[in-house]
């Protein structure tokens, strides 16, 4: 099956759905689409995942030109509150996310998504504004690369 529109939003929702499906490791409310407000809610050691809008890195037409292939890169950021030494917790959760994407190339059978892979994962820290040497959060920014097929039939110039 192919996608008919809105690849960006569809991919974001699909990533959220497959991560939320791992309820042993991720609380549903802590896997959001662009909503970072929960970071101030008192997470302690809980994982917090934010899926951000993606970047379209390539696009091409094929077939009767109503068929479009797109490659998207979506930043997915995993946060943990930095208290003392959160690396073990963070590393485990990082591996969980990598495994989830690797195990679900179509992001849970989403129509139009033909492949997805984590193409990069970078460690970083969030420091308090005007603060000292201690980070408030340790975070990993994943780049989830998705190839998707869209079909524009009976619409616009293909009507």
């Amino acid at each position: 099956m192919v996608m008919t529109a809105s690849a960006d939003a569809t991919i974001q929702a699909a990533i959220q759905t497959v991560i939320r499906a791992d309820s042993d490791n991720f609380t549903s409310a802590n896997v959001t689409l662009g909503d970072v407000r929960g970071l101030s809610g008192g997470l302690e050691s809980a994982s917090y995942v934010v899926i951000f809008p993606g970047t379209l890195t390539s696009g091409a037409r094929g077939g009767d030109y109503g068929q479009v292939t797109q490659v998207w890169e979506h930043p997915v950021i995993l946060y943990h509150r930095w208290r003392n030494d959160e690396y073990a917790t963070h590393t485990t959760a990082r591996d969980d996310i990598l495994d989830i994407i690797n195990e679900n190339p179509t992001l849970g059978g989403t129509d139009g998504i033909v492949n997805s892979i984590v193409s990069a994962a970078t460690l970083g820290y969030l420091y308090p504004k005007g603060g000292g040497d201690t980070p408030t959060y340790v975070m990993t920014t994943f780049t989830v690369m998705c190839e998707c097929w869209l079909l524009y039939a009976n619409t616009g110039e293909f009507a």
């Binding site: 008192g42 308090p128 005007g130």
Partner: protein, 169 residues
Amino acid sequence: MALGANSYGTVAEVAALTPRWTSSGSFGATTQPTESHVEKFIDRVSATLNVFLAEAGFSIPVTQADCVLMLDDFVVIHVGALCDAVNGAGTYVPGENNNLRGRTSFEIIRKSAGDFVADHADGLEKLGASRTYSMTDGLECRTTDAAGDTITPFFSRKQMGNQPIEWDT
């Protein structure tokens, strides 16, 4: 552990200001700081405030409702800043010279409490906070003249046949 009887503010009010350091909005045994640490912060900032209030003649703890709200606010905000500091953030974080200007958090709280009480003692009293004065309160003695030179008293003890009496003997 509970808060001291003379303390102002509550742990929940501090948590409301600093939710990031809580566990789903509440301080507990595993949060940083823990609930008992926050209680101690509250007791100590309250004690600092009470010292200055007592120095100004107020009965502590102040119980007049409006005054208490203001004192609660003073304590909760400063304790919130201490909770930030525990996590390397905020005004009192060690090493944050721009904010601390080289002073410790205690120095800031002590100065802030002293200024606060001195500036608003009249307001606290007019709202009904219980305040008592010593018998010599308000008595002043001018010791220099307009030029700033020391004034020599016109009269002194034992002058003109004066016989001082030692009342205590």
